[in-house]
Amino acid sequence: MQVETPLVLLKNRHLGRPATFEEYRAGGGYEALIATVGKRTPAEVLQLVLDADLRGRGGAGFPAGKKWQGIPAGYVGPRYVVVNTDEMEPGTFKDRILVNTDPHLVIEGIILCAYAVQATEGVCFIRPSYESDAVLIEEQSQVARDHGLLGDNILGSGFSFDIHVHRSAGRYICGEASAQIKAISGLRPNPRKGGPRTSVKGLWDCPTIVNNLETLANLPGIVRNGPDWFKSLARSAGGSGTKLFSVSGRISRPGCYELPIGTPLREILDHAGGMPPGRVLKAVIPGGASTPFMPDKYLDLEMDFEPMKRAGQRFGTASIMVFDQNTCLVGATLNLMEFFTRESCGWCTPCREGLPYVRHLLRLIEGGQGEEEHIGMIKDMAQAMRSAYCAFAPGAAEPLLSLFEYFEPEVREHLRQKRCPFGNPPPAMRGKACGTRPPTFGPTPCPEDQCPI
């Protein structure tokens, strides 16, 4: 049952190429900017965003307007906007799709945000694997600059603002706001906790607004059509706006779908073509790697921050990863733990030492060498990981704890059979993979029918 959905962020979608400046302009692009800069006060823009109840799309869901209000009133000096395009959460690719669809929507959003907080400089923090996006933003912001929409004295209003791209060299932790600021400053990107917020003391010790790229892309619509329009887009009671859902995994048509916030998971999966033939949904990870497994009983849950929180789930980045009945969730969790272990910044003990600890035990379990006591040890450590320095280790603990909450029998099956019941080979130790695999698991034959090789 395909329903017509409003396209706000992806309305300029063209196959295989990003929308041009002219195309964007033709669809009413930059009108919000023209109607705002020099014509409305920054406070009015801020009020619009507050009224629209725009919540951060980067995972935490903090209201964007509230974050902007954190800038000390009467602060004199440079202010910065940092556009978080790090997006290293496994399963998330919405920002890449968005930039590649409509770069000028993003640029207009950034400028509107900068106007609202009276920032002078914007930094687009982009991860290394999105090099083409970095180039695209650089090119298209030059186009905007040429049209007087960016740079010195925008549209003759006296407001000056410019964007430059900061290329990261890749690490998941750089996506955390305070770590991202440190990364831009050429410091080790360990997150910072305590002390003033980044909106008070951020980049180069100046007030800095760090927002996800998708969050800012919502601004032109809000400013142009008003907060009520934005709220009306959502399907859940308290929600507002649309959301880019990146759907991947065992699904017929994986991809990025723009749907109203509050759309139930079942519908989202329908948009993505539903389960492939012969596949039955076992669980999804609803919001990127640091959200818990959501078993199929939540299929009708409204996908929005509040309803999911009430159900003990997390909306996160709305990156839905679909696991079918043939996928070993212990293996999937182990894979996530491998990722988190590797990407930790190494600052605090539960993260630096706790993740390798549970990773090793999961490797044992997945490899059939697990013991009963290992389950208790993993649960112990997952609890300890919740009291880590930043949200990284607690995020890693989410899928781990939900594995035991919903799928403990599957874990115990590993112990009972002394092997992976789904036929996965024992996890190879990193750095020793090649040539040490059992010959039965190579290019062929594969444990599953649809092995791509």
Binding site: T341, R342, T349, P356, H360, A384
Partner: protein, 785 residues
Amino acid sequence: MPDLIIDGRPVRVPKGTPVIAAAESLGIVIPRFCWHPALGAAGACRMCAVMFLDGPVKGLEMSCMVPAADGMVVETFHPEAVTFRRRVVELLMANHPHDCPVCDEGGHCLLQDETISGGHALRRFPGRKRTYLDQDLGPFIQHEMNRCIHCYRCARFYQEYCGYLDFGPMQNANRVYFGRFASGPLESPFSGNLADICPTGTLTDKPGRYKSRRWDCQRAPSVCPHCSLGCATVALSRYREVVRVEARENPAVNGHFICDRGRYSFGYAASAERPRQARADGVPTSMSTALALAGTRLGGVVEAFGPEAVAVVGSARSSLETQTALTALARAGGWRGPAFFADRTEQQAVAAALAALAGGRARSLAEIGQADAVLCLGVSPLHDAPMLALSLRQAARAGAVVAVADPRPATLPLPFTHLPLAPDKLPGAAALLTGAEAADAAAIQRALPLSPELWPALERLAPAFAAAGNPVLVFAPALAAQAPADARFGLFPVLCGPNAAGAALVADADAPACDDLARAIEAGEVKGLVLAEADAAALSPRLAAALPGLETLVVLDHLPTPSFAAAKVFLPTQTLFESGGTLCNNEARLQYAAPVAPPGEPVSRDGRGGHPPRDYARKLPGTDPLPAAALCAVLALEMGLDMPALSFAAFTGVGPEDVAPEGTRATRLPAAPTAPAPPSAPPGQGLVVVRDDALFATDAYGRYAPLARAQAPAASVVRLHPDDAAGLGLADGEALTVTVGDRRIEATLAVSAAVARGAAVVPRLPGWAGLPAAIGPETLRRRQP
């Protein structure tokens, strides 16, 4: 002042105090690794987790990260907190190697303490242990990365607190490595503190490696005698040898840390060259014979020429007890002296510097860390008083403006402005920055017409100093006259020896100085001299030159100085480690150093066949030395003098029994004497000689400490401004011959714009002591190959 309840006990602490410190004030020590009072919270180790039951914060939180607030109810032994801490220890121990028996930290290891007290005894983690390769971090710090628990204390101390950036964390996740880019000595002159601050055996003290366990050492609070700051230390001795010196916390002076000079220059006390036996005319003899001979010889001089023919010389490195005893001895005999200073100007300068401190204007090192503007006048912090640099760094981190007006090139681990000015220009510069009104550009250009390159810096600095609410002037005593009348300015003199202030307090205002005595010897008025813990050559070259004219020279010392070699009668004295003693630091703070090492040759040098001797009945070798003060009393007895009992309380206003553990400021400062004339341009042509200290082996004790001497630069360097070098026709890096009196010293030339015009910077070494005040091309000559 938040009120909170920790483990059922109410406590009130100052605002901003973290809960961990609040608990400590109740005597509740919450386990910790990364938290350190000087470094603050990092939240990295997660060891200090406690349960917050009520108040603004609830649940399991780190007590180092949460500032105490009203209404908090904290439980440190809540089961959830205990369980969490147990998990943390389990995680930290999962990779910790099995090497406590060969680890030097064993016995004073925080990780050992927390692991054992937390009850973690059995390893349940089945994985393998992570290992790392180590680096060579130079002569002071031993690196053993396997033991690291990644608390980041070292990196935070080294980079943030000290401001050096050659050591720090690398890699990420569970591969984080603390080290340098490549093996090599650590650049920081505070690197030794890493051994103290590391909670495990990752960074340990290399000179003390494999020497002893903490529990086998005699430990006593001591005071560092290697510059005038008087930092608090703990000396550890074992088998009659000081094996290690550590920082002792003194919140008013050095905080928690000391510099490497203070930490690694202790070797003079157990050095093989240290004279431990009395000598008569160069021949070893017994103490009683030597004392009798000293009495007879001095008595003979008194008999033949009268008591005025005997003089006493002391020094700024003796304890107050010794200085007082010398004064008592001289008074009892009616002798000249004691002289503690090279010339009278120096004595007046030190007295004037101390006099200026009256009226609450003295600042401590800790207070400098809180100043908002600091001017160092004629002081090069890193070398004249290394810990001053660390205090300046703390001030600069909090936003203070730091300026160093000094002819020598200055490097500091903080943003600062260097004003390289010749000594005679310093008063002018001081006047520009210490006035109540900000000096304008015209005034600056008038004051320093020949240094246009400094005008912009001064124009920037002047308003900052004028606006500062809590500025401090750090000054060399020769510039005491520049202490501004403006009461805003705190004062911090940097003096020339560990007890220079004591000497200035003890010395009579009209006491002769060494130069006066030298003149008297040359004139034949003085025939006998008692040289107590003073090296004439380093103190006053003129006096050293006059020594052969004496009939008798009695030397009391524990260092093998040239004066010891020249002594007619030599009486060995005990070091500060053996006798203990009171030192008065640059801010007139009296501190007591307790005795820690018993006298005698160290066991390591006593014995044959690889083990100590088994003869228990014999007299221990090398136990002749006595405290200098005691020797003075015995000498007085030998000569039949009635030596009055004199306590240093008479000079300082503070008695030995009143000296608090953190030190007590002298209440009796010199009445403001006529301030010394500010340094003036030397008569005639030439470059003013400015002496520069190195970090190691330029202080009186460090010169005789083998480890410190090994760190001294191999070649002496003379530094000149490019203009002056060009004027002399010399180029950077050239080999020089420097004529000092009738000696020639080989040196190399370093040319740098950071040297003041008109100054020649030479090392402060005894060999260089005879240089005139100004030198020219006849002294500095290109060395002919």
